[in-house]
Amino acid sequence: MELYPLLRLLHFAGFISLGGGLLAVFASEWRAYRTDGAMAFAEAARYTAAFYQTMVLPGAILIGVSGPLLMRHLGLGIFDAPWLVGMWGLFVFEFLEGNTVTRIQFRRTLRLSQALVRSTSLAEEERLGQIAHFLDIPLFSAIIYCGVMRPSHWGPVGTAIGIGLIMAGLLTVLVPRMARRRRSD
């Protein structure tokens, strides 16, 4: 098999694993937000950790390995095109954020939820560890946009990142409110 199709396959597989994992984490967090029971919250925290370990992390590693190899194979420099800078820049940001802030928070939530299992209700401050994840999907969408549309100017790349940040802000504000409303219904 030639190297290029193989690298392309790994790159796509990485994106599917990472994107699918982030969506599954979002669904899990949405479930955690909606519940009042400590048991269901603990279960959602457990699944969030499982999705990170089985989908997000392997996907990020696949992208991190195949991406630079693809660039080398195609003879692309790291600052050659705005879409390329958008892709690796956002990926590096997400990777660092995911392995520092998000990882610490989901580990903390998991530990906390295991200690809470015997409780009957859940305090609002115990949910705060979830917020950092709302940045992941909008920025991942911006990476997909850069990779598929390949804009040759900085304007569309900046617009995509801007829209991603606005979406993350909206999710951070709206999701907890919607979840609270659902809990009170």
Binding site: L9, F12, A27, S28, V148
Partner: protein, 158 residues
């Protein structure tokens, strides 16, 4: 239209495969559990993932695939790998929409009954095995279609 179709197709694929793989990951967490309440909660989550990720992802894949096929209609039957991919995708959709989706609901309903009775019902175990079988079949076909789409082999006649 082709580029928008590609973005949608990739998004649909991420949702569809993401939904399936996350269900596999959840099954793995409760693989050997005999706790009917835990299994029931896990099934509720599997059903939720199926309804918010897997099924919408499948429809996005179908619609975007249709858009791209329409844009490339003159060359649609010129590549054997594309014909093979379309056949596999059709089989995945038929299996997913008409066999797996009703099975997921039935298994979750049986998990609820198991939870209320305090132990896993035999009918739950049987139907869950059936769901696993069709789920594995769908996953294999989907991976084969994915390989065809990315590698685009010539598929010469022997």
């Amino acid at each position: 239209m082709k580029t928008i179709g590609k973005v949608l197709h990739l998004s649909g694929l991420i949702m569809f495969i993401g939904g399936i793989v996350s269900s596999i990951a959840m099954n793995h967490v409760t693989l050997k559990s005999e706790d009917a309440a835990l299994v029931y909660h896990q099934r509720l989550f599997v059903s939720e993932i199926t309804s918010v990720l897997t099924i919408p992802g499948m429809w996005i894949l179908i619609i975007s695939g249709g858009l791209m096929a329409f844009a490339e209609r003159s060359r649609l039957f010129g590549h054997r790998w594309l014909i093979a991919k379309l056949l596999l995708a059709s089989a995945v959709v038929i299996n997913g929409a008409f066999i797996l989706t009703p099975l997921v609901d039935q298994v979750t309903a049986l998990a609820e009954q198991s939870s209320s009775q305090g132990h896993l019902l035999r009918s739950y175990v049987t139907l869950k095995a059936e769901e696993d079988l069709y789920g594995t079949l769908n996953f294999i076909m989907l991976i084969a279609a994915f390989f065809l789409a990315i590698l685009k082999p010539q598929l010469r006649r022997l």
